[in-house]
Symmetry: C2
Subunit: 168 residues, 2 copies
Protein backbone atom coordinates (compact mmCIF):
# COMPACT_ATOMS: atom_id res chain seq x y z
CA UNK A 1 0.00 0.00 0.00
CA UNK A 2 1.14 3.56 -0.67
CA UNK A 3 1.48 5.79 2.37
CA UNK A 4 2.45 9.40 2.93
CA UNK A 5 2.91 11.67 5.93
CA UNK A 6 1.30 15.09 5.90
CA UNK A 7 0.24 18.02 8.07
CA UNK A 8 -3.31 19.28 7.60
CA UNK A 9 -3.32 22.99 8.52
CA UNK A 10 -6.15 24.75 10.40
CA UNK A 11 -9.62 24.84 8.85
CA UNK A 12 -9.14 28.53 7.94
CA UNK A 13 -5.97 27.78 5.97
CA UNK A 14 -7.60 24.72 4.38
CA UNK A 15 -10.52 26.85 3.22
CA UNK A 16 -8.23 29.54 1.80
CA UNK A 17 -6.20 26.87 -0.04
CA UNK A 18 -9.32 25.12 -1.34
CA UNK A 19 -10.64 28.35 -2.86
CA UNK A 20 -7.69 28.01 -5.29
CA UNK A 21 -7.44 24.21 -5.39
CA UNK A 22 -11.07 23.90 -6.51
CA UNK A 23 -10.02 25.54 -9.79
CA UNK A 24 -6.34 24.72 -10.16
CA UNK A 25 -5.58 21.42 -8.41
CA UNK A 26 -6.84 18.12 -9.91
CA UNK A 27 -6.17 16.52 -6.49
CA UNK A 28 -8.79 18.80 -4.89
CA UNK A 29 -11.27 15.94 -4.43
CA UNK A 30 -8.64 13.35 -3.45
CA UNK A 31 -7.27 14.84 -0.22
CA UNK A 32 -7.86 17.99 1.88
CA UNK A 33 -5.13 20.67 1.65
CA UNK A 34 -1.88 19.46 3.19
CA UNK A 35 1.79 20.17 3.76
CA UNK A 36 3.68 17.06 2.76
CA UNK A 37 6.29 15.81 5.25
CA UNK A 38 7.22 12.67 3.33
CA UNK A 39 6.68 11.79 -0.32
CA UNK A 40 4.40 8.79 -0.96
CA UNK A 41 6.20 5.48 -0.26
CA UNK A 42 5.37 1.80 -0.46
CA UNK A 43 4.99 0.03 2.88
CA UNK A 44 3.70 -3.44 3.75
CA UNK A 45 0.52 -3.43 5.85
CA UNK A 46 2.08 -6.17 7.99
CA UNK A 47 4.90 -3.78 8.95
CA UNK A 48 2.59 -0.95 9.99
CA UNK A 49 3.24 -1.35 13.75
CA UNK A 50 6.95 -0.62 13.17
CA UNK A 51 6.10 2.54 11.21
CA UNK A 52 3.48 3.67 13.74
CA UNK A 53 5.93 3.18 16.64
CA UNK A 54 8.54 5.25 14.87
CA UNK A 55 6.05 8.04 14.14
CA UNK A 56 4.89 8.03 17.77
CA UNK A 57 8.50 8.48 18.89
CA UNK A 58 9.01 11.32 16.43
CA UNK A 59 5.80 13.04 17.57
CA UNK A 60 6.68 12.71 21.24
CA UNK A 61 10.11 14.23 20.66
CA UNK A 62 8.87 17.19 18.59
CA UNK A 63 7.46 20.42 20.01
CA UNK A 64 4.35 21.91 18.40
CA UNK A 65 5.07 25.07 16.43
CA UNK A 66 3.37 27.99 14.70
CA UNK A 67 3.80 28.53 10.99
CA UNK A 68 2.99 31.33 8.56
CA UNK A 69 2.16 31.35 4.85
CA UNK A 70 3.27 34.69 3.45
CA UNK A 71 3.13 34.48 -0.35
CA UNK A 72 2.21 32.42 -3.41
CA UNK A 73 5.12 30.86 -5.25
CA UNK A 74 5.82 28.14 -7.84
CA UNK A 75 8.35 25.40 -8.54
CA UNK A 76 8.55 26.35 -12.23
CA UNK A 77 10.53 25.25 -14.24
CA UNK A 78 11.08 22.06 -12.15
CA UNK A 79 7.34 21.38 -11.92
CA UNK A 80 4.33 23.59 -12.61
CA UNK A 81 3.14 23.51 -9.03
CA UNK A 82 1.68 26.63 -7.42
CA UNK A 83 1.81 26.84 -3.64
CA UNK A 84 1.48 28.89 -0.46
CA UNK A 85 5.08 29.45 0.63
CA UNK A 86 6.05 28.84 4.25
CA UNK A 87 8.02 31.52 6.01
CA UNK A 88 9.61 29.36 8.72
CA UNK A 89 10.64 26.18 6.98
CA UNK A 90 12.95 24.85 9.66
CA UNK A 91 10.49 22.96 11.92
CA UNK A 92 9.07 21.17 8.86
CA UNK A 93 12.57 20.30 7.63
CA UNK A 94 13.43 18.85 11.03
CA UNK A 95 10.24 16.81 11.11
CA UNK A 96 10.97 15.57 7.60
CA UNK A 97 14.51 14.54 8.55
CA UNK A 98 13.47 12.75 11.73
CA UNK A 99 10.88 10.73 9.86
CA UNK A 100 12.96 10.10 6.76
CA UNK A 101 16.27 9.20 8.32
CA UNK A 102 15.23 6.21 10.34
CA UNK A 103 12.26 4.16 9.32
CA UNK A 104 11.22 5.49 5.96
CA UNK A 105 14.50 6.17 4.24
CA UNK A 106 13.51 5.84 0.58
CA UNK A 107 15.05 8.59 -1.48
CA UNK A 108 12.88 11.62 -2.29
CA UNK A 109 12.42 12.70 -5.90
CA UNK A 110 13.03 16.36 -5.05
CA UNK A 111 14.97 18.16 -2.34
CA UNK A 112 12.52 18.74 0.52
CA UNK A 113 10.87 22.18 0.43
CA UNK A 114 7.81 22.43 2.69
CA UNK A 115 4.86 24.06 0.92
CA UNK A 116 1.08 23.91 0.60
CA UNK A 117 0.07 23.07 -2.98
CA UNK A 118 -2.81 25.15 -4.37
CA UNK A 119 -2.39 24.30 -8.06
CA UNK A 120 -0.68 21.61 -10.17
CA UNK A 121 -0.45 20.25 -13.73
CA UNK A 122 -0.82 23.83 -14.95
CA UNK A 123 0.30 24.81 -18.44
CA UNK A 124 3.20 27.27 -18.66
CA UNK A 125 0.77 29.99 -19.76
CA UNK A 126 -1.70 29.36 -16.94
CA UNK A 127 1.12 29.30 -14.43
CA UNK A 128 2.58 32.57 -15.70
CA UNK A 129 -0.84 34.27 -15.56
CA UNK A 130 -1.57 32.96 -12.08
CA UNK A 131 1.80 33.79 -10.55
CA UNK A 132 1.47 37.26 -12.09
CA UNK A 133 -1.94 37.79 -10.49
CA UNK A 134 -1.20 36.10 -7.20
CA UNK A 135 2.17 37.68 -6.52
CA UNK A 136 0.08 40.83 -5.86
CA UNK A 137 -2.34 39.02 -3.54
CA UNK A 138 -1.79 39.63 0.14
CA UNK A 139 -1.30 36.21 1.72
CA UNK A 140 -1.01 36.17 5.48
CA UNK A 141 -2.22 32.95 7.01
CA UNK A 142 -1.16 31.31 10.22
CA UNK A 143 -1.63 27.82 11.57
CA UNK A 144 -0.51 25.98 14.67
CA UNK A 145 1.07 22.64 13.84
CA UNK A 146 0.34 20.29 16.73
CA UNK A 147 -0.11 17.00 14.83
CA UNK A 148 0.72 15.13 11.66
CA UNK A 149 -1.12 12.34 9.87
CA UNK A 150 -0.21 9.02 8.31
CA UNK A 151 -2.38 8.70 5.20
CA UNK A 152 -2.78 5.93 2.61
CA UNK A 153 -3.95 5.85 -0.97
CA UNK A 154 -7.02 3.91 -2.10
CA UNK A 155 -6.98 2.45 -5.60
CA UNK A 156 -9.05 5.33 -6.99
CA UNK A 157 -6.42 7.87 -5.89
CA UNK A 158 -8.32 9.07 -2.81
CA UNK A 159 -6.25 9.41 0.37
CA UNK A 160 -7.63 8.22 3.70
CA UNK A 161 -6.21 9.07 7.15
CA UNK A 162 -4.85 6.05 9.01
CA UNK A 163 -3.72 7.78 12.18
CA UNK A 164 -2.98 11.20 13.65
CA UNK A 165 0.12 11.78 15.81
CA UNK A 166 0.09 14.60 18.37
CA UNK A 167 3.24 16.66 18.90
CA UNK A 168 4.42 17.52 22.41
CA UNK B 1 -17.68 24.25 13.21
CA UNK B 2 -19.52 21.07 12.23
CA UNK B 3 -18.02 17.82 13.51
CA UNK B 4 -18.89 14.16 13.17
CA UNK B 5 -17.52 10.88 14.49
CA UNK B 6 -16.94 8.04 12.06
CA UNK B 7 -15.17 4.72 11.58
CA UNK B 8 -13.18 4.31 8.36
CA UNK B 9 -13.13 0.58 7.51
CA UNK B 10 -10.12 -1.28 6.06
CA UNK B 11 -8.77 -0.23 2.66
CA UNK B 12 -10.34 -3.31 1.05
CA UNK B 13 -13.79 -2.40 2.31
CA UNK B 14 -13.25 1.25 1.34
CA UNK B 15 -12.35 0.20 -2.20
CA UNK B 16 -15.37 -2.09 -2.48
CA UNK B 17 -17.64 0.72 -1.22
CA UNK B 18 -16.08 3.31 -3.53
CA UNK B 19 -16.72 1.14 -6.59
CA UNK B 20 -20.42 1.89 -5.92
CA UNK B 21 -20.05 5.36 -4.39
CA UNK B 22 -18.24 6.64 -7.47
CA UNK B 23 -21.49 6.22 -9.38
CA UNK B 24 -24.21 6.51 -6.75
CA UNK B 25 -23.00 8.73 -3.91
CA UNK B 26 -22.62 12.51 -4.45
CA UNK B 27 -20.47 12.58 -1.28
CA UNK B 28 -17.88 10.33 -2.98
CA UNK B 29 -15.35 13.17 -3.32
CA UNK B 30 -16.12 14.73 0.07
CA UNK B 31 -15.09 11.94 2.45
CA UNK B 32 -13.73 8.37 2.16
CA UNK B 33 -16.25 5.57 2.90
CA UNK B 34 -17.27 5.57 6.55
CA UNK B 35 -19.57 4.11 9.16
CA UNK B 36 -21.10 7.02 11.03
CA UNK B 37 -21.01 6.81 14.84
CA UNK B 38 -22.48 10.25 15.48
CA UNK B 39 -24.49 12.51 13.19
CA UNK B 40 -22.85 15.86 12.35
CA UNK B 41 -23.12 18.31 15.26
CA UNK B 42 -22.08 21.89 15.96
CA UNK B 43 -19.21 22.31 18.41
CA UNK B 44 -17.16 25.37 19.36
CA UNK B 45 -13.48 25.09 18.46
CA UNK B 46 -12.64 26.52 21.89
CA UNK B 47 -14.37 23.53 23.54
CA UNK B 48 -12.45 20.93 21.51
CA UNK B 49 -10.25 19.77 24.44
CA UNK B 50 -13.39 18.72 26.37
CA UNK B 51 -14.65 16.72 23.38
CA UNK B 52 -11.23 15.16 22.71
CA UNK B 53 -10.87 14.12 26.37
CA UNK B 54 -14.26 12.47 26.30
CA UNK B 55 -13.47 10.61 23.08
CA UNK B 56 -10.14 9.43 24.52
CA UNK B 57 -11.97 8.03 27.54
CA UNK B 58 -14.49 6.28 25.32
CA UNK B 59 -11.73 4.80 23.15
CA UNK B 60 -9.76 3.58 26.15
CA UNK B 61 -12.81 1.84 27.59
CA UNK B 62 -13.84 0.13 24.34
CA UNK B 63 -12.39 -3.13 23.01
CA UNK B 64 -11.54 -3.38 19.33
CA UNK B 65 -13.93 -5.65 17.43
CA UNK B 66 -14.39 -7.38 14.08
CA UNK B 67 -17.34 -6.55 11.89
CA UNK B 68 -18.89 -8.08 8.78
CA UNK B 69 -20.87 -6.57 5.91
CA UNK B 70 -23.16 -9.26 4.55
CA UNK B 71 -25.66 -7.63 2.20
CA UNK B 72 -26.79 -4.45 0.44
CA UNK B 73 -29.87 -2.80 1.91
CA UNK B 74 -31.70 0.53 1.81
CA UNK B 75 -33.53 2.89 4.16
CA UNK B 76 -36.38 3.37 1.67
CA UNK B 77 -38.98 4.81 2.22
CA UNK B 78 -37.40 6.85 5.08
CA UNK B 79 -34.51 7.99 2.88
CA UNK B 80 -33.25 6.72 -0.46
CA UNK B 81 -29.91 5.64 0.95
CA UNK B 82 -28.28 2.43 -0.24
CA UNK B 83 -25.77 0.79 2.12
CA UNK B 84 -23.67 -2.21 3.08
CA UNK B 85 -25.54 -3.71 6.03
CA UNK B 86 -23.62 -4.66 9.15
CA UNK B 87 -24.23 -8.11 10.60
CA UNK B 88 -23.13 -7.41 14.19
CA UNK B 89 -24.55 -4.00 15.03
CA UNK B 90 -24.11 -4.18 18.78
CA UNK B 91 -20.52 -2.89 19.18
CA UNK B 92 -21.34 0.12 16.98
CA UNK B 93 -24.51 0.82 18.97
CA UNK B 94 -22.52 0.70 22.21
CA UNK B 95 -19.90 3.06 20.82
CA UNK B 96 -22.65 5.39 19.62
CA UNK B 97 -24.33 5.41 23.04
CA UNK B 98 -21.11 6.01 24.96
CA UNK B 99 -20.25 8.97 22.76
CA UNK B 100 -23.77 10.38 22.52
CA UNK B 101 -24.90 10.08 26.12
CA UNK B 102 -22.27 12.22 27.75
CA UNK B 103 -20.55 14.95 25.84
CA UNK B 104 -22.36 15.16 22.56
CA UNK B 105 -25.96 14.66 23.51
CA UNK B 106 -27.73 16.50 20.69
CA UNK B 107 -30.69 14.51 19.45
CA UNK B 108 -30.20 12.41 16.33
CA UNK B 109 -32.57 12.85 13.36
CA UNK B 110 -32.98 9.08 12.95
CA UNK B 111 -32.74 6.11 15.28
CA UNK B 112 -29.14 4.90 15.13
CA UNK B 113 -28.59 2.07 12.64
CA UNK B 114 -24.91 1.49 11.84
CA UNK B 115 -24.32 1.13 8.09
CA UNK B 116 -21.86 2.00 5.33
CA UNK B 117 -23.49 4.28 2.74
CA UNK B 118 -22.75 3.36 -0.90
CA UNK B 119 -25.48 5.47 -2.56
CA UNK B 120 -27.70 8.43 -1.67
CA UNK B 121 -30.12 10.96 -3.20
CA UNK B 122 -31.28 8.21 -5.56
CA UNK B 123 -34.65 8.45 -7.29
CA UNK B 124 -37.22 5.81 -6.34
CA UNK B 125 -36.72 4.13 -9.73
CA UNK B 126 -32.91 4.06 -9.46
CA UNK B 127 -33.14 2.72 -5.94
CA UNK B 128 -35.57 -0.04 -6.94
CA UNK B 129 -33.36 -1.09 -9.86
CA UNK B 130 -30.22 -1.09 -7.74
CA UNK B 131 -31.65 -2.95 -4.77
CA UNK B 132 -33.06 -5.49 -7.25
CA UNK B 133 -29.63 -6.02 -8.82
CA UNK B 134 -27.60 -5.85 -5.65
CA UNK B 135 -29.76 -8.07 -3.49
CA UNK B 136 -28.35 -10.86 -5.70
CA UNK B 137 -24.73 -9.71 -5.26
CA UNK B 138 -22.70 -11.73 -2.82
CA UNK B 139 -21.37 -9.27 -0.24
CA UNK B 140 -18.98 -10.70 2.30
CA UNK B 141 -16.55 -8.13 3.61
CA UNK B 142 -14.82 -8.01 6.94
CA UNK B 143 -12.99 -5.27 8.77
CA UNK B 144 -11.36 -4.90 12.14
CA UNK B 145 -12.51 -1.81 13.97
CA UNK B 146 -9.61 -0.62 16.13
CA UNK B 147 -10.09 3.17 15.87
CA UNK B 148 -12.57 5.93 15.20
CA UNK B 149 -12.05 9.45 13.87
CA UNK B 150 -13.24 12.91 14.78
CA UNK B 151 -13.81 14.73 11.48
CA UNK B 152 -14.87 18.30 10.65
CA UNK B 153 -16.50 19.90 7.67
CA UNK B 154 -14.81 22.58 5.57
CA UNK B 155 -17.03 25.22 3.98
CA UNK B 156 -16.99 23.44 0.61
CA UNK B 157 -18.50 20.30 2.17
CA UNK B 158 -15.22 18.35 2.30
CA UNK B 159 -14.53 16.53 5.57
CA UNK B 160 -11.07 16.57 7.12
CA UNK B 161 -9.82 14.27 9.91
CA UNK B 162 -9.01 16.12 13.12
CA UNK B 163 -7.89 13.16 15.21
CA UNK B 164 -7.95 9.36 15.35
CA UNK B 165 -8.72 7.52 18.60
CA UNK B 166 -7.39 4.00 19.10
CA UNK B 167 -9.57 1.40 20.84
CA UNK B 168 -8.11 -0.90 23.52
Amino acid sequence: MRYSIVVFPSSKVQEAANSYRKRFDPAYALIPPYIRIKEPFEWAEADLPELVNHLEEVAQSTERFATRFHRVSSFHPTTNVLYFAIQNKEPFEKLHEKIAQKCVNQKETYAYVPHLTIGRDLSDDELRDLTGQLSMAKIDLETEVDRFSLVYELEDGIWSVYQTFLLK
